[in-house]
């Protein structure tokens, strides 16, 4: 049977979620904002 989550487990999960989630959110934001616009590289 699985043991109940401790406070430390919850802190670790929250930090992991922030650590991987925030860059993904930022990537999604930048992609929707800039990717479909002309890049004007030439």
């Amino acid at each position: 049977m699985l043991k109940p989550y401790t406070t430390l487990d919850i802190i670790a999960l929250t930090l992991a979620l922030i650590h991987f989630g925030v860059p993904l959110l930022y990537y999604w934001y930048m992609k929707t904002k800039h990717l479909n616009k002309p890049w004007n590289l030439a």
Partner: protein, 266 residues
């Protein structure tokens, strides 16, 4: 007429924001220093820092300073030792750095320099983010503060945070050099890279050095300027390395041996 903010004001606001955030994080993280678990290697680096400090003060002959791996010069130990001295916590160096007898007060004092260096690295990324996109700032700060590696190493008196921060500072300065063509930024990058290599000669500062040299070649227009920038960069990086890892230069033969012996054995 369109109202524009003077670039110097924008620059000052960015720098001020980065400094304020650094101070705020220092105030938040500093109370944690006594409670963070002691890593065995911390004793060793503090012991080496104290030996190096005595060597600089002329109280210890160069051959009585411990050399370990070849990729461990003394720049980070120089900063740790100077920081201990400035805080009035420098004690007599042990003969064997593993056997240093440190109190909690001295450990916290040594860790303060690691935390300050880590936060300077973070501040430089905040400055860079402010130059790119405002939302990148919370993204970067949250990413770093939720990283066990960043927080753990910032609270410990080990070499990793020094090499990471100085390498970051060096690359951020190069962004400044590329966008503003600032010579001062190039010089700052060189000084930071010398400190990074002097803290720990790992792949990170070596690759950063290659990237910076390629950037100089691409950015400067004339061959004469390219050569002059490369020579100045190399000279300044060497200068900051030599000034902080003097013992490595004084005992260059031992240092080279400590690099080559593990290679021959492996």
């Amino acid at each position: 007429m369109r109202n524009t903010i003077h670039p110097k004001v924008v620059f000052s606001v960015k720098i001020l924001t980065a400094i304020l955030l650094t101070v705020l994080l220092f105030v938040l993280l500093e109370p944690l220093l006594p409670y963070h678990h002691l890593h065995g290697d911390e004793r060793y680096y503090i012991g080496r820092a104290l030996q190096n400090l005595e060597f600089i003060q002329g109280k210890r002959p160069p051959n009585k300073v411990w050399f370990s791996r070849g990729n461990h010069p003394f720049s980070a130990e120089f900063i740790i030792g100077t920081s201990l001295l400035l805080q009035g916590k420098a004690v007599a160096a042990p003969g064997n750095p593993w056997k240093v007898n440190i109190t909690e007060d001295q450990l916290v004092a040594a860790r303060r320099s690691a935390l300050t260096t880590g936060l300077i690295g973070l501040a430089s990324i905040v400055y860079l983010s402010l130059s790119l996109n405002f939302l990148a700032v919370p993204a970067v700060v949250l990413y770093l503060l939720s990283s066990p590696g960043f927080v753990d190493f910032s609270l410990r008196c080990m070499l990793d945070i020094y090499v990471a921060s100085f390498t970051t500072l060096s690359l951020v300065s190069i962004y400044w050099y590329v966008t503003k063509k600032s010579r001062k930024a190039l010089h700052m990058s060189a000084l930071s890279l010398g400190l990074a290599i002097g803290s720990k000669t790992s792949w990170d500062p070596i690759i950063a050095g290659v990237i910076i040299l390629l950037t100089i070649v691409l950015i400067e227009t004339h061959v004469k300027d390219k050569l002059s920038a490369i020579i100045k960069f190399t000279a300044l990086a060497s200068l900051s390395f030599i000034a902080t890892s003097t013992i490595t230069i004084v005992r260059l033969e031992d240092h080279i041996r400590s690099v080559l012996v593990p290679m021959e054995a492996g």
